[in-house]
């Protein structure tokens, strides 16, 4: 029975991966990746990693993919591939050769490694293996430092994404927008240009002069805050 589930999940995962690489529309690529991730979660369950499978479904296939879908919808990636032809034949040939070489090398490295346990089902199953209790105990005792570092990394990435994606005076749109300097930011009556979500979505104009900023802040208040 495990063999049947393995082949279903494995074929689903590989088909999803091929779909991500070959489909033209980025939105369909994201959907293919979601099916790929769900199949991988089934594989993780077969390997008795229950907590990681649940995290895969909830965090990866749920939250991260929603982020992708939002960005694809924002950019509207559908018309991109029609504008330009796909990559040339030469590049595709070279990429295929590199991929085949990589595949052969990885196969040799993993299956030809001489580890005896590769041809077995693995260590005997103990109750509680891969359960949230075991993962939590490991995370808070033996791997406490990596756990804290991972949380720091997430915090830095969140701040970095806000800084990267906020609206600011760019090359092409220098006319109607101006940058907020640090001094203006410090003494301004309403601190605009702070990179908030409402500002990034364009609800609030980026740089306004001092007399109209009061009205802008009042509209912010009517809308229910930042």
């Amino acid at each position: 029975m495990a063999e049947l589930f393995f082949f279903i999940a494995g074929i689903g995962a590989i088909a999803g991966a091929v779909g991500v690489v070959t489909l033209r529309n980025p939105f369909y690529c994201v959907l293919a990746l979601v099916s790929h991730l769900l199949s991988l979660a089934a594989l993780f369950l077969l390997l008795r990693a229950e907590f990681v499978a649940a995290a895969q479904v909830i965090v990866y296939a749920g939250a991260v993919m929603v982020l992708y879908v939002f960005v694809v919808a924002y950019i509207g990636g559908g018309e991109q591939p029609a504008l330009r032809p796909p990559v040339g034949r030469g590049q595709r040939m070279i990429a295929g050769l590199c991929t085949l070489g990589l595949f052969a090398e990885l196969m040799v490295a993993t299956l030809g490694s001489g580890l005896k346990a590769i041809d077995s089902e693995g260590a005997p199953y103990r109750p509680g293996f891969g359960s949230p209790a075991q993962i939590g105990e490991l995370l808070l005792t033996k791997f406490l430092l990596p756990f804290e570092l991972a949380s720091f990394l997430l915090l830095i990435a969140a701040v970095g994404a806000v800084v990267l994606a906020r609206r600011r005076g760019g090359v092409g749109e220098a006319g109607d927008e101006r940058r907020m300097s640090a001094l203006e930011f410090a003494r301004g009556p309403a601190p605009l240009g702070v990179g908030s979500m409402a500002e990034a979505a364009g609800d609030i104009p980026g740089g306004v002069d001092a007399e109209s900023s009061g009205s802008v802040s009042s509209t912010i208040g009517e809308r229910g805050g930042w």
Partner: protein
């Protein structure tokens, strides 16, 4: 199932992801292909954790998921910033990373 089968699936998915990174032009799809490669590594880590019978490989897989989430966050931020500046969403035309 033997552990070797899982490693074979992981290798194949990793190669497919590498091919996608090499052939696609849209940075969004390139990020998706990077996700494929990270997930292939996750499968291998969890297969080895099953092989040894301890949970440390699963901790590694969770850390890889955290790093992947950070990479997605920053990568999508860069893509949105590119779109804001009306630059082409095409890695072949973005030859310089100047502000």
């Amino acid at each position: 199932m033997n552990i070797g089968w899982y490693l074979a699936v992981s290798t194949l998915i990793f190669s497919i992801g590498a091919a996608g990174v090499l052939t696609r032009r849209n940075p969004l799809v390139i990020l998706l292909c990077l996700e494929l490669m990270l997930n292939a590594a996750n499968v291998a880590l969890i297969a080895f954790a099953r092989m040894h019978g301890n949970g440390e490989g699963q901790i590694f897989a969770i850390v890889v998921m955290v790093v992947a989430a950070c990479e997605v966050c920053i990568g999508l931020g860069v893509v949105v910033a590119l779109y804001r500046r009306r630059l082409p969403i095409d890695v072949d035309e973005l030859r310089e990373l100047q502000g």
